[in-house]
C-alpha cells in the first residue's frame, strides 16, 4: 500500500478534467459503434434500402444452418482457451515464483507480449501442419512419409489448433498481469508462511495467495475471455472452417458482394455481443462456485506436499512447450522469408534468396513510418491521459472510482466486430475517415487501457513520502509531479509506452476500417498478404511486425540504464 501523506487533500486543479475526458474517449467510440451495429441488425440502414425496423436480419441469421455449431465453437474455444491459459499461468507462478527458474521463464515469455497474435498463429500453423516442421523433422526416417500425410491438424473441426494458438499468446499476457498483482498482495510472505506451516509449494500458494491474486487479475481474465470468443485473425488461420466461428462468419458476411448480407452480419455482431455478455455472466457464476469449493478445499487443511514433485516439473514443461511453440514458429517464418524452393520433407530450404525482402523494401519502409507515427502519437496521448487520471486520484486522496476502472476495460471486452463497423460510419460522418489522425484516435481506444494497466501499479506503489518532502521544501503539486514523481517513474513510463506502442502496432480492424484502407501499416499489409497464403511473404512481414515493437521494448529496457548511469539510487 502506498504510504499516505499526512497533509489533507488538495484541490486537483486542471487534472480534474482527465477522468471525464478519458471516459469520453474510451466509452464514446464503443457505445457509438455498438449503436451503429444494432440499427442495421434490426433492418435499419438507409444506404442499402433498409428504411424500417424489422426482424428480417435475425431470420436470415437463424436460417444459416451453421449457426448452432458456430456459436458452440465460439463459446467452447473462448472458455477453453481462457481456462487453460489461466490454469497454466497460475500453475507456473505457484510452482516457481521466487526461484531463479521463474525469472528465466518470465524473461522468456514476456517479449512474446509484443508479438501480434496473427504472427504467432502463422508460426504455429507451420509447426503443426502435416507438411509443417514437426512432420518434416520426423520424416521420412521415423514416419516413413515422403509426402505429407493426410490428417487434419490445423483447422480441425473441434477448434483444438485455435485453442492452442490462443493459449500460447494469452499465457504471457496473464503472466505479466499476475506478476504486477503479486506485489500488491504481499505474495512472497504469504507463501512463506504457508510453507512454514507445512504446505507444499503449489498447494500453499494456491490456497493462500491465488484467491487474492485472482481478484487483482479478474479484469484481464475477462478481456482474455471476450477476446478469445470473438477473435477473427487467429480463427481464420487456425480455426475450423465447416462452419467457422461466429466472428469469422460475421466478417465473411460483411465481405459478401451481395450487400443484403450486411444486415445478417449486423445481426450476427449483435448476437456475438450478447454471447460475450452471457458467457461473462457464466464465468461470474463459475467464480462464485470455484470460490465456494476453494474455501472448503483450503479449510480442509490438506498440505498437498506430494503434489509438488509432479506439478512443478509439469509447470516447467508447459511453460517450455508454450514458449517453444511460439519461438520455433517464428524461426520457421523467418526462414520462410529467405527460402527458395522448400519441399517436403526437407528440414531446411534447398536454396535461399533475399528476393522477397528486396521486393518488399519500398512497401516495408513506408509502412514502418506510418506504423511508428501512429504508434507514437496514440501512445503519447494515452500516457498523458493515464498520468492525468492517476495524478488526480493522488491529489484528491481517493482511489479511482471502480466504475471508471471497469470502463477502461470496455474496449477490450466489447468484441471489435461488434462496434468497429459502426465506428467507421461515425468517422465518415465526422469527415475524418481515412486520415492518419483518425486512425491514431481509434488506436487510442485500445492503447489507453493497456497503458493504464501497465502504469497504474508502479504509480500507486510510488513512495508518497517523496512528495511530502517536496512539499515541505516549498514545491507545489505540479513541481512535485514534474521534478520528482515523473523522473523517478521513468522506467515504468517507458515500459507502459512500449506496451502501448506494441498494442498500436498490432491493431488490424480499427486501422483498416477507420483508415478507409488508405492508411497502410505493417499489420494491415501483413494481413492483406496473409490472404495470399504465401509463406515467404508472410515471413517477411511477420518478422518486421515483430521487430518494430521488439525494438521499442529493448529501448524501454535499455534507456533507464543510460539515463540513470550516474544516479546510483535509480539503478534497477
Amino acid at each position: 500500500m502506498p504510504v499516505r501523506a499526512t497533509t489533507g487533500a488538495r484541490p486537483p486543479g486542471a487534472v480534474a478534467l482527465f477522468p471525464p475526458l478519458t471516459v469520453l474517449l474510451l466509452a464514446g467510440p464503443v457505445l457509438a459503434g455498438v449503436a451503429g451495429v444494432l440499427l442495421p441488425a434490426f433492418g435499419f440502414m438507409p444506404a442499402l434500402g433498409g428504411h424500417a425496423l424489422s426482424l428480417d436480419p435475425w431470420r436470415a441469421l437463424w436460417a444459416w444452418p451453421g449457426l448452432a455449431a458456430a456459436v458452440r465453437l465460439s463459446v467452447v474455444t473462448g472458455l477453453a482457451a481462457t481456462a487453460i491459459s489461466l490454469a497454466i499461468t497460475l500453475l507456473i507462478v505457484a510452482a516457481w515464483h521466487g526461484t531463479r527458474s521463474f525469472a528465466l521463464v518470465t524473461r522468456a515469455l514476456s517479449p512474446l507480449l509484443s508479438l501480434p497474435h496473427a504472427a504467432a498463429a502463422f508460426g504455429l500453423a507451420f509447426l503443426i501442419a502435416p507438411s509443417g516442421w514437426i512432420a518434416r523433422a520426423l520424416s521420412p526416417w521415423a514416419t516413413g512419409w515422403d509426402r505429407p500425410p493426410d490428417f487434419l491438424s490445423v483447422n480441425d473441426p473441434a477448434g483444438l489448433a485455435l485453442i492452442a494458438g490462443l493459449v500460447i499468446k494469452e499465457i504471457p499476457f496473464l503472466l505479466l498481469m499476475t506478476l504486477a498483482a503479486l506485489g500488491q498482495v504481499d505474495a512472497t510472505r504469504s507463501a512463506l508462511v504457508a510453507r512454514t506451516m507445512g504446505y507444499g509449494r503449489v498447494s500453499g500458494w494456491m490456497k493462500a495467495v491465488a484467491p487474492r491474486v485472482y481478484a487483482q487479475i479478474r479484469l484481464p481474465v475477462f478481456a482474455v475471455l471476450a477476446y478469445s470468443m470473438s477473435v477473427v485473425d487467429v480463427a481464420l488461420i487456425l480455426g475450423p472452417t465447416r462452419p467457422p466461428t461466429l466472428a469469422v462468419q460475421i466478417v465473411d458476411w460483411m465481405n459478401r458482394p451481395d450487400l443484403s448480407h450486411r444486415f445478417t452480419a449486423a445481426a450476427g455482431a449483435a448476437l456475438q455481443l450478447a454471447l460475450v455478455v452471457g458467457i461473462l455472466a457464466l464465468w461470474f457464476a463459475g467464480e462464485r462456485l470455484a470460490g465456494a469449493l476453494g474455501r472448503c478445499w483450503a479449510t480442509g487443511g490438506a498440505r498437498g506436499r506430494r503434489l509438488d514433485p509432479v506439478l512443478r516439473p509439469l509447470a516447467l514443461v508447459l511453460a517450455g512447450i508454450s514458449a517453444g511453440a511460439v519461438f520455433l514458429g517464428l524461426a520457421g517464418l523467418a526462414i520462410w522469408s529467405v527460402a527458395g524452393m522448400w519441399r517436403f520433407p526437407d528440414l531446411i530450404p534447398e536454396s535461399f534468396s533475399l528476393r522477397h525482402w528486396q521486393g518488399q523494401a519500398r512497401g516495408l519502409g513506408a509502412a514502418v513510418q506510418v506504423t511508428a507515427l501512429i504508434g507514437v502519437a496514440s501512445t503519447l496521448a494515452a500516457l498523458v491521459l493515464a498520468v492525468g487520471c492517476l495524478e488526480r486520484e493522488f491529489r484528491i486522496r481517493r482511489p479511482t472510482d471502480r466504475r471508471l476502472s471497469a470502463l477502461i476495460y470496455l474496449p477490450l471486452i466489447v468484441p471489435q466486430v461488434a462496434f468497429l463497423p459502426g465506428l467507421t460510419t461515425l468517422a465518415l460522418v465526422a469527415g475524418v475517415g481515412g486520415t492518419v489522425a483518425a486512425v491514431a484516435v481509434a488506436h487510442l481506444v485500445f492503447v489507453l487501457p493497456y497503458v493504464f494497466l501497465a502504469l497504474s501499479d508502479p504509480w500507486r506503489a510510488w513512495d508518497t513520502r517523496c512528495a511530502t518532502v517536496g512539499h515541505s521544501l516549498g514545491a507545489g503539486p505540479n513541481r512535485v509531479l514534474w521534478a520528482i514523481r515523473l523522473p523517478m517513474l521513468t522506467r515504468a513510463l517507458l515500459i507502459a509506452a512500449a506496451v502501448g506502442f506494441a498494442t498500436s502496432v498490432a491493431q488490424y480492424l480499427p486501422t483498416l476500417l477507420v483508415g478507409a484502407g488508405r492508411v497502410a501499416t505493417l499489420t494491415t499489409e501483413a494481413v492483406a498478404l496473409a490472404a495470399s497464403g504465401n509463406r515467404r511473404l508472410i515471413g517477411v512481414w511477420a518478422v518486421m511486425q515483430m521487430a518494430l515493437p521488439f525494438t521499442v521494448f529493448a529501448l524501454a529496457l535499455g534507456l533507464p540504464a543510460l539515463i540513470f548511469a550516474r544516479r546510483r539510487g535509480m539503478a534497477p
Binding site: A27, A32, A35, G36, L39, A47, L48, P65, G66, A69, A129, S131, P148, D150, F151, L152, D156, P157, L236, P240, T241, R242, P243, M254, N255, R256, P257, D258, L259, R262, M341, R343, F344, S353, H356, G359, Q360, G363, T425, L426, L428, V429, G431, G433, G434, A516, G517, R518, A520, T524, E525, A528, L529, A530, A531, S532, G533, N534, R536, L537
Partner: protein, 404 residues
C-alpha cells in the same frame, strides 16, 4: 454519447445523395488529362500476390512519368472490402470525395455495385485506347458473367481456368470431369477445391455444372428461371461421390486460390487449378512451385472471364482514375502484363488493331515452361449468370459447409 451520435448518423444517412457537380467527361480527353495532373489515385486491388503488387508499382511509375498522376495501391485482403467502403460512405452521406478511386473488380462484386448504382460511367468505351480492344474476338469483355458491362468497367485482362498438376506424380492428367472423378477415386486425398463461397471454389462448381447439364443454355439465365433442383441434382451426386476421397476426406478445405497453390507446392495434393494460365510458370521461375508442375484444360473447355477497372460513383479523383484505366489499355502496359515473367495475364487487345511496333512487343513474349500455347488452350466457356454463383455457393454451404 449514444443519444448525440445516433441522430447525426440518421440525418446523414437519410439525406438525399447530391449529384456530383463536375464529373470529368472522357470524351474531352484533354480536359481529363489536365484535371488529372497532380491527383493521387487510390487503386483498390487484391494485395495477396507480390507479382501483381510489383506490376501495380510499375504502372504507378509510368502513370507519374507520363501524366503527373500519382498512384497508391490499396492492398485489399478481399475485393469486397472496397465495396463495403463505398457502401459505408454512402450510408454516411459522403457522395463525393470518396476514399476509393478505382477497384479491380469482376463477377458478383461488379454486378452488386452496378445494381446498387455505385459505379461512375459509362466511361470505358470513350477511353482513347479503347480502339485497340478486340471486342469481336473477345465478346466476353462486354459482358461480365452474362451481365452487360455497359461501359461501367474497363476490361484489362482475360482469365481462364487451368488445372495445374505435378507431372512427377500424375502421368496422364484427367482431361474431363468424368476422368477427374475416376482419378480422385484412384488417388484419395490428392485433390481438393477452395471452400465455397470462395470465388475459385465456386468456380469449380460452375465448371462442373458445365460438364453435367444437358443444355448449358440454362446456365446463362437466372437460377429461378429453371427447375433448379433437377438441374443441379447431378452436381450434388458428383460431389457426394468424390467428397470422401478429397484431401482430408472433405473435412476441411483450403480457403482460397493461394491456399490451394500452397498445398500443391507442399506436395499435399497433386492437382490444383487457378484462373491465371501463366501462374504456374511464374511460380516455378520464382522457386515457389517445383519444376515438374504442368497445366492442362478439359477437352470440353474451361471457364473464362475478364477483369475490369471500375470507378465508384463518389470517387474523389475520377480524372486520375480515367487516366489510369486508359493507361492500362496501352499496348506497352498490356504487353508487360502478358509477359510471363511479370504476370502472364492474357491481353484484351486485338493484334490486328496494333501498329507493327506494338505487335512486336507481344510477339517477342515467350510462354513459360508450364503454360499452354494458345492453340492448346481449348474453348473458353461462358461464365454462368451471377445468380448461379450465389445459389450454388449457398447450397454447397448447406450441404457440405457444416460438419455433421
Amino acid at each position: 454519447m449514444l443519444r448525440h451520435i445516433a441522430p447525426i448518423t440518421l440525418v446523414a444517412a437519410l439525406s438525399l445523395p447530391l449529384p456530383a457537380l463536375a464529373d470529368p467527361d472522357p470524351a474531352d480527353w484533354g480536359a481529363v488529362l489536365s484535371e488529372a495532373r497532380g491527383q493521387t489515385v487510390f487503386w483498390n486491388a487484391w494485395g495477396g500476390d507480390p507479382r501483381i503488387n510489383a506490376f501495380i508499382e510499375q504502372v504507378g511509375d509510368m502513370l507519374e512519368d507520363r501524366h503527373g498522376v500519382r498512384l497508391t495501391h490499396v492492398r485489399l485482403a478481399d475485393t469486397a472490402d472496397a465495396v463495403t467502403r463505398v457502401v459505408a460512405e454512402r450510408s454516411a452521406g459522403r457522395d463525393s470525395g470518396g476514399a476509393v478511386d478505382v477497384i479491380w473488380i469482376n463477377g458478383a462484386n461488379f454486378v452488386s455495385m452496378k445494381d446498387n448504382d455505385l459505379l461512375f460511367g459509362p466511361f470505358a468505351e470513350a477511353l482513347p485506347n479503347w480502339r485497340y480492344v478486340d471486342t469481336e474476338a473477345n465478346p466476353a469483355v462486354l459482358t461480365d458473367f452474362t451481365v452487360p458491362v455497359d461501359g461501367l468497367g474497363a476490361p484489362w485482362a482475360m482469365f481462364r481456368m487451368v488445372f495445374e498438376y505435378d507431372s512427377a506424380a500424375v502421368s496422364e492428367p484427367p482431361r474431363s470431369l468424368d476422368a477427374l472423378r475416376n482419378w480422385i477415386a484412384a488417388n484419395p486425398g490428392r485433390f481438393t477445391y477452395p471452400q465455397p463461397p470462395d470465388f475459385l471454389g465456386t468456380s469449380f462448381l460452375k465448371q462442373a455444372m458445365w460438364g453435367l447439364v444437358d443444355d448449358p443454355a440454362v446456365l446463362m439465365g437466372p437460377t429461378d428461371a429453371v427447375d433448379y433442383d433437377a438441374v443441379t441434382a447431378p452436381l450434388w451426386a458428383y460431389l457426394d461421390e468424390i467428397t470422401p476421397n478429397l484431401w482430408r476426406q472433405g473435412r476441411a478445405y483450403p480457403a482460397n486460390e493461394p491456399a490451394l497453390g500452397q498445398l500443391l507446392a507442399d506436395g499435399e495434393i497433386d492437382i490444383g487449378f487457378a484462373f491465371n494460365p501463366g501462374r504456374a510458370s511464374a511460380a516455378i521461375a520464382d522457386g515457389e512451385l517445383p519444376g515438374t508442375i504442368r497445366t492442362f484444360v478439359f477437352e470440353q473447355g474451361t471457364l473464362g472471364n475478364s477483369s475490369y477497372l471500375s470507378i465508384p460513383y463518389n470517387a474523389a479523383n475520377k480524372a486520375g482514375a480515367l487516366v489510369l484505366a486508359n493507361l492500362i489499355l496501352d499496348p506497352e502496359v498490356q504487353a508487360l502484363a502478358q509477359d510471363p515473367d511479370v504476370l502472364g495475364f492474357q491481353t484484351v487487345l486485338g493484334m490486328h488493331l496494333l501498329d507493327n511496333e506494338d505487335r512486336a512487343r507481344f510477339e517477342a513474349l515467350e510462354l513459360g515452361i508450364a503454360t499452354l500455347p494458345p492453340q492448346d488452350m481449348g474453348i473458353a466457356l461462358d461464365e454462368p449468370h451471377p445468380s448461379w454463383m450465389t445459389q450454388l455457393a449457398e447450397d454447397w454451404v448447406t450441404r457440405y459447409g457444416i460438419a455433421d
